[in-house]
């Protein structure tokens, strides 16, 4: 997240943009005055002249252009000259070129004139730059060379070649960009004469130019030379890459040769060439030597084929996935994840279940990555496989694929003979199931004696209920009626997610259940009740419970209900007063204060203030006071401003202090009042 200060600055910058001249018609100063101000513009000065000048350049170019040229020529400040040049770079025409060309030779104005000329397209400006190339001093010559290179000015090659002989990097870059045969020849001559320290770079530039040159025969001849072993690896690699592009007829043979050769640089480029070959070309043509390729090469190729996404190589990939070194098999399986089909699913599921670690992991990833409308159907079929491990992997993959359609099948697997498969099915249902699958869960809940499984069923049930509360209400209530003791605690949580009077009645009765486990779960359910209808029950438990844990749970749940802002403030205040009277010790008083802070009523504020002197509750009391004061209408509690000021003065939390001060100011009705 961008820090607030930076966002503010950016917003400020945006406002400046809004004030730019293209957005409104200029008013006020006439153009001549604006240009005069532009001529003398200094950084940080009044930008209006800049807006005027830009507006004029856009709307009255024939008038503005000569004035901008004059502004550069006669500029009193560099800032003014620059701003004028920037406008000419966008709006200048051939008419400005002669004057700008003359200014290139002016040591004071040359750089700025180039800034303007560089942006003016067309043959006139190109010719001007070309003429100036040999006449301007060095740094400027580099800029002109770059501009001519960007313009692909073939006529500039002789002059650039002369600069190249003086070892000017800008000339090299320009010649590479122009890439005519003459430019390539200049670079080639330079490379042959280059000292050892610079020969690799010079060779790389030759390759780059040869890759662009239009003369195909020349390009291939040049590139072949630089693909030879005596050149540095990166030069050979670049030459090879360019050859593959340029020489379509020889491409397959070249790639095959590199794949089987000993030159690592070319081999890696060949792998890349296979991956990036035109989509219409069948990559199988490059792989004719597969049986003789080194394992490392095969692995790299399989990875590349996966990325390429071309199904024509599926037979090869499938064969590689089933045998060979581990790394190669894993790469093939990865590739299957990208290009595989439904028929590959059984093998992947089997491999995911019991392959060697790296291969099994690749298979799991592939099951999740496979695309296609029939893939999920194929994985679903594997949930009925004979081997439990395969069923397990299939269910996990379906869950990770968010395959909602798998929920009914997973419901069947809840009764699987193997515990791991059952757990996988439960996890899937928890993520993706609906009320339709709940009966299967409930049947299992009734039938299991495994505590952990019961808990897992409960988790799944609760996740489904949280998503589908309304549809689950009759299901959960019906299950409750028939539930045995061990299942009841699980269902109680679901009942609290369902809510409503019938569920509440069921939970209420469970509070009195002789089983301590059921009673505890019932109290927890009440404490998590979605609305305040359980408040009275919780209060009763607080008042009558002999078990400390039950009491604490009920108290917390009751206070939590007081945070429900759909209950009126007066009612919440009354509840919290009751809770306060029942609070056992500082921790519970602090809970009450936490909820009190959400009640926008002067009495609540008063209650909180009363606790501010107690060191055990001071912090929560002050937070409650400030929270309430922020919510109160200003006119309702002006007398509390002083108390808030006191809190602000004494608070160690600077954020709270600032809030208290702000609230005090608001309640007292004026800045500084009450201080």
């Amino acid at each position: 997240m961008v820090p607030l200060r930076v966002r503010s600055l950016l917003a400020w910058a945006g406002l400046i943009l809004l004030a730019r001249p293209g957005w409104t018609m200029p008013a006020g100063q006439d153009l001549a005055s604006a240009m005069e101000a532009l001529r003398r513009y200094e950084w940080g000065g009044d930008p209006r002249c800049l807006h005027e000048a830009e507006a004029a350049a856009r709307t009255r170019p024939s008038v503005a252009e000569p004035l901008l040229v004059k502004a550069i020529r006669e500029a009193a400040t560099e800032a003014g000259a620059q701003r004028a040049a920037r406008l000419l770079a966008v709006y200048g025409t051939d008419r400005a070129v002669p004057d700008l060309e003359r200014m290139l030779l002016d040591p004071q104005r040359g750089a700025v004139a180039l800034m303007a000329l560089d942006g003016i397209p067309g043959s006139a400006s190109t010719a001007a730059l070309r003429r100036a190339l040999r006449r301007v001093p060095d740094p400027l010559a580099d800029g002109i060379a770059a501009s001519l290179g960007a313009r692909r000015d073939a006529a500039a090659v002789p002059a650039l070649a002369a600069l190249l002989r003086m070892n000017r990097p800008a000339a090299r870059g320009a010649l590479v960009a122009i890439a005519t045969p003459a430019a390539l020849n200049a670079l080639d001559r330079y490379e042959r004469a280059a000292p050892a320290a610079g020969r690799e770079r010079a060779a790389a530039d030759c390759v780059a130019a040869a890759a662009r040159v239009g003369d195909r025969a020349l390009a291939i001849r040049t590139l072949r030379r630089f693909a030879a072993p005596r050149y540095a690896a990166r030069v050979r690699a670049a030459a090879f890459r360019a050859l593959v592009e340029k020489d379509a007829e020889g491409r397959v043979a070249r790639v095959r040769s590199a794949l089987t050769g000993k030159d690592d640089a070319l081999r890696l480029e060949a792998v890349r060439a296979v991956e990036e070959a035109p989509s219409e070309s069948d990559p199988s043509a490059y792989l004719a030597d597969w049986p003789t390729l080194a394992a490392t090469t095969r692995t790299l190729l399989l990875e590349a084929l996966g990325r390429r996404g071309d199904r024509r190589v599926l037979p090869l990939v499938r064969r590689s996935a089933s045998s060979g070194p581990a790394g190669t098999r894993a790469a093939a399986i990865d590739a299957l994840g990208q290009i595989g089909e439904a028929r590959d699913v059984p093998m992947l599921a089997r491999t995911a279940a019991d392959g060697p670690a790296e291969i099994a992991q690749a298979a799991r990833t592939a099951l999740r990555a496979l695309r296609g409308v029939d893939i999920e159907r194929a994985i679903l079929a594997q949930t009925e496989a004979r081997r439990a491990a395969v069923r397990l992997q299939s269910l996990e993959a379906l869950r990770d694929r968010a395959a909602v359609a798998a929920a009914p099948r997973a419901a069947r697997r809840v009764a699987d003979p193997y515990a791991d498969v059952r757990r996988a099915a439960l996890r899937l249902l928890g993520s993706l199931g609906s009320a339709s699958e709940a009966p299967a869960l409930l049947v299992r809940l009734r039938g299991t004696t495994d505590e952990d499984e019961r808990e897992a069923i409960g988790d799944a049930l609760n996740q489904i209920t949280a998503r589908w509360a309304r549809q689950m209400e009759p299901v959960v209530l019906a299950a409750w009626e028939e539930a045995t003791a061990p299942a009841r605690p699980v269902l109680l949580h679901a009942l609290s997610l369902v809510g409503g009077p019938r569920a509440l009645e069921a939970v209420r009765s469970a509070v009195r259940d002789p089983s301590p486990e059921v009673a505890s779960a019932a109290i927890r359910a009440l404490a998590d009740w979605p609305d305040a209808s359980a408040a009275a029950d919780l209060l009763r438990i607080v008042r009558t419970a002999t078990d400390r844990v039950h009491r604490a749970l009920a108290f917390r749940g009751y206070v939590q209900m007081c945070r429900d802002e759909s209950i009126s403030e007066l009612d919440r205040l009354a509840m919290l007063r009751t809770a306060w009277g029942l609070a056992n010790g500082a921790p519970e008083r602090r809970q009450v204060l936490g909820a009190l802070g959400l009640v926008a009523h002067p009495e609540a504020l008063q209650m909180a203030l009363m606790c501010a002197d107690d060191p055990e509750t001071r912090v929560e009391a002050e937070m409650a006071v400030v929270g309430i004061a922020e919510r109160l209408p200003a006119e309702s509690a002006p007398s509390f401003a002083t108390a808030l000021e006191r809190i602000a003065a004494g608070a160690s939390d600077q954020g709270l202090a600032a809030r208290a001060r702000a609230a005090a100011t608001r309640l007292s009705g004026s800045t500084g009042a009450g201080r």
């Binding site: 961008v2 930076v6 600055l9 950016l10 917003a11 400020w12 910058a13 945006g14 943009l17 809004l18 957005w23 950084w43 940080g44 930008p47 800049l50 560099e78 800032a79 620059q82 966008v90 750089a111 180039l114 800034m115 942006g119 740094p139 800029g143 002109i144 770059a146 960007a150 800008a170 870059g173 790389a204 780059a208 890759a211 540095a232 690896a233 990166r234 690699a237 690592d264 640089a265 480029e269 792998v271 890349r272 991956e275 490392t296 790299l300 990875e303 790394g327 894993a330 790469a331 670690a357 992991q361 990833t365 999740r368 990555a369 695309r371 869950r399 968010a402 993520s431 993706l432 998503r467």
Partner: protein
């Protein structure tokens, strides 16, 4: 290679490392022959790195800084740091020396000395945006691979030049779009790409406003700062403390404003999910109100991408006919409607390996350097995303609809707009 921390502090499980190491081990014989390390006499199999720009994102002030992230990775070695601000340079060098337990890290204010230094295989560029293109192109020419922070470029033409250089000099160039190797983000984009939310009707991406011209008054330049080198290819102007070190983003001479700052992340996710990594929008419609938000970018397939504000929402929201996905770059926070769409989302640590096997954005770069494969955040992808940002800025500036040809990378029949596709670079800092 021991299990440890990946970039950003996420523990890298042994299983993840095993997956990476096995593949790397398979490629290891290639390393032993001296490729792709430069020169047959490379002292070790570790990839030598030079850091250019060790200020905010590079090292100084940012959580998960690049230097701190890379230095934890066993397969590389930081050999040089470069910054035009001596304070940052000295602190970074001290940090590297202390981490390695010995002095030896080279430091300089001039990046050209890093490019010419033996032993350095790749550079990490975390300078202000206006330097990215020149440094990347020059590094490619010098035979180095490049990790370049987002946004990739300052102009459309610069981005294309960077792609060209990477291709012509056969270099790995990866952009710092960390979302591309975040499994949660990838999961969300895959959901969109595979049609799980139906036909995408609209995408809303949040980022800040466009930049403004830098008209700040002159101030005294600090002694520690080489201001002329900081400016580099940008036009000469006096120093102002609001420009350096991190508020340069607000100014069009150095950056693309809030549009490129978070747009480079959020527009990137939109491009990715739409399958537009080698293309872009065809029509841009700025709001008639003149507000710097609300620009609509239309793609050829009919989908509309809307520039939204952080005041309204966060991240990127894909609205489909059958669901909605919201993704937040960097954090990887994801939200789905209906909720079950997120059932397959797992904490990458728990899962052990994310969907495509990349173990962190920085490790991924190093893997690409070793194997020479194209990065998942390749320079072309970064260029196309930055282009969307630049087009947005141009549309806001001109305040009228613009038609864009993503194949030719020009505006259709619009000379004025086309003049904004590049900018002048001060000599000698030319492409």
């Amino acid at each position: 290679m021991r299990a440890g921390k990946s970039a950003g502090g996420r523990p890298v499980s042994r299983r993840e490392l095993a997956g990476l190491t096995a593949r790397t081990a398979i490629a290891a014989p290639l390393l032993l022959t001296g490729f792709p390390l430069r020169g047959p006499s490379a002292p070790s199999n570790r990839i030598g790195l030079g850091f250019i720009g060790v200020g905010w994102k590079g090292f100084e002030g940012c959580w998960g800084s690049l230097l701190q992230s890379f230095i934890r990775i066993e397969s590389c070695r930081v050999l040089a740091v470069c910054d035009v601000d001596r304070r940052y340079r000295d602190r970074a060098r001290a940090y590297v020396d202390e981490t390695y337990g010995r002095r030896g890290c080279f430091s300089t204010a001039d990046f050209r000395e890093v490019l010419g230094r033996p032993g350095i295989d790749a550079v990490v560029i975390a300078t202000p945006d206006h330097w990215h293109a020149v440094m990347t192109v020059w590094a490619c020419r010098a035979g180095m691979d490049v990790y370049c922070e987002k946004p990739l470029s300052l102009t459309v033409r610069e981005g294309r030049a960077m792609v060209e250089a990477a291709r012509r000099y056969a270099r790995v160039v990866q952009v710092g779009s960390q979302s591309r190797t975040n499994s949660r983000i990838r999961y969300g984009c895959e959901l969109v790409r595979t049609g799980r939310i139906g036909k995408v009707r609209e995408i809303r991406a949040t980022c800040g406003p466009p930049p403004a011209p830098c008209l700040l008054p002159a101030e005294d330049t600090p002694d520690t700062l080489n201001w002329d080198l900081w400016l580099g290819p940008a036009a000469n102007r006096p120093y102002n403390s609001r420009i350096h070190p991190m508020w340069f983003r607000a100014f069009e001479e150095y950056s693309g404003g809030g549009i490129t700052d978070w747009g480079a992340h959020h527009f990137d996710l939109a491009q990715w999910a739409l399958g537009m990594d080698h293309s872009g929008p065809v029509l841009l419609e700025p709001p008639s109100s003149g507000e710097p938000v609300g620009l609509r970018l239309r793609y050829a397939n009919g989908t509309t991408l809307v520039h939204s504000s952080f005041d309204v929402e966060q991240g990127v929201t894909f609205v489909g006919t059958e669901g909605t996905v919201n993704l937040m770059a960097i954090s990887g926070r994801a939200a789905f409607e209906p909720a079950h769409l997120g059932a397959g989302l797992r904490d990458p640590v728990v899962q052990g390996a994310d969907l495509l096997g990349n173990a962190g954005h920085y490790e991924h770069f190093l893997e690409c350097v070793r194997t020479r494969r194209t990065s998942a955040a390749d320079v072309e992808i970064g260029h196309r995303t930055a282009t969307v940002c630049h087009l947005a800025n141009i549309a806001y500036r001109l305040r009228r609809p613009l038609r864009w040809d993503p194949v030719r990378e020009t505006f259709v029949g619009d000379l004025e707009a086309n003049r904004y596709l590049d900018r002048h670079r001060r000599a000698p800092w030319c492409l």
